[in-house]
């Protein structure tokens, strides 16, 4: 399965819906999408991972890269994820301390802290 990407703007937030597998082959597409959004002035991103079937460290690296880019503009990058097998990877790498992880897009969009 390949990677699918779609974006939607809600107020000052941009929701990036990701589906499929994020690995060494597909992660560059996600990186391009995040870089493009930041270059276009979208600094508050919500990455919806509910449709993600597989995530590896390359994908984590891209998300960390995205976080660095939005932070350079006082922005934010929030994740939406309820899947235990995906959350486990964030826990192993201690990235749960780096990313705010929400249970729904609505919650992530409303979050301000």
């Amino acid at each position: 399965m390949d990677l699918s990407l779609s974006t939607e703007t809600v107020g000052d937030r941009t929701i990036v819906r990701v589906g499929g597998e994020i690995d060494v082959y597909t992660a560059p597409k996600l990186r391009e999408q995040l870089v493009e959004l930041v270059n276009d002035g979208s600094f508050h991103l919500v990455v919806d991972m509910e449709g993600v079937d597989f995530l590896d460290s390359t994908g984590l690296g891209v998300l960390v890269g995205g976080l660095k880019r939005v932070r350079a503009h006082e922005g934010s990058l929030r994740l939406v994820c309820n899947q235990e097998r995906i959350l486990k990877i964030f826990r192993i790498t201690c990235l749960t301390k780096v990313f705010p992880i929400h249970t729904s897009v609505e919650e992530a969009v409303a979050a301000t802290d």
């Binding site: 690995d23 082959y25 590896d56 390359t58 690296g61 990877i89 192993i92 790498t93």
Partner: protein, 145 residues
């Protein structure tokens, strides 16, 4: 001899194939269903690392994956042919010119593997390196009739 041996060109698009094959052979070998996600992720991380090492080292040799079914355990060995020493093989310009530092991703991949797999050995030498991972297997409870 390995139960299944896989060699693939060091290209990112083949890592998924290695994951699927490894998971299929692990399932057949009797690795617990609940652990198959971990097998898939760990072998993917190891292959991703090997592909990266080959690509950066300009090595045309394939990445090798050995899937070995043994008594009460299943092993996966991912081998690369990248010389791991001396480490300073890459020039400072190459390292600094890359904004998404490869070394960080490499370390994160190893962190994921060691976080997932209890029994893992990483070896590296002048002629290449390998990551060997082992999982316990449960033999079928009853014979199918």
């Amino acid at each position: 001899m390995a139960t299944v041996e896989l060699r693939f060109s060091a290209l990112p698009e083949h890592v998924r194939t290695a994951r699927l094959v490894a998971a299929a052979v692990a399932r057949r070998a009797g690795v617990d269903e609940a652990v198959l996600d971990e097998v898939r992720l760990a072998v993917g991380e190891a292959c991703t690392r090997a592909v990266g090492l080959h690509q950066h080292g300009g090595i045309s040799a394939p990445v090798k994956v050995l899937l070995i079914e043994e008594e009460k355990q299943f092993s996966i060995e991912v081998g690369d042919e990248a010389p791991h020493a001396p480490v300073q093989a890459r020039s400072a310009d190459e390292v600094l010119g890359d904004p998404d530092a490869e070394t960080e991703e490499d370390e994160m991949g190893l962190a994921v593997i060691s976080g997932l797999v209890d029994d893992v050995e990483v070896s590296a030498g002048e002629n290449g390196g390998s990551i060997r991972m082992r999982w316990p297997t449960t033999p079928p409870a009853a014979t199918f009739t």
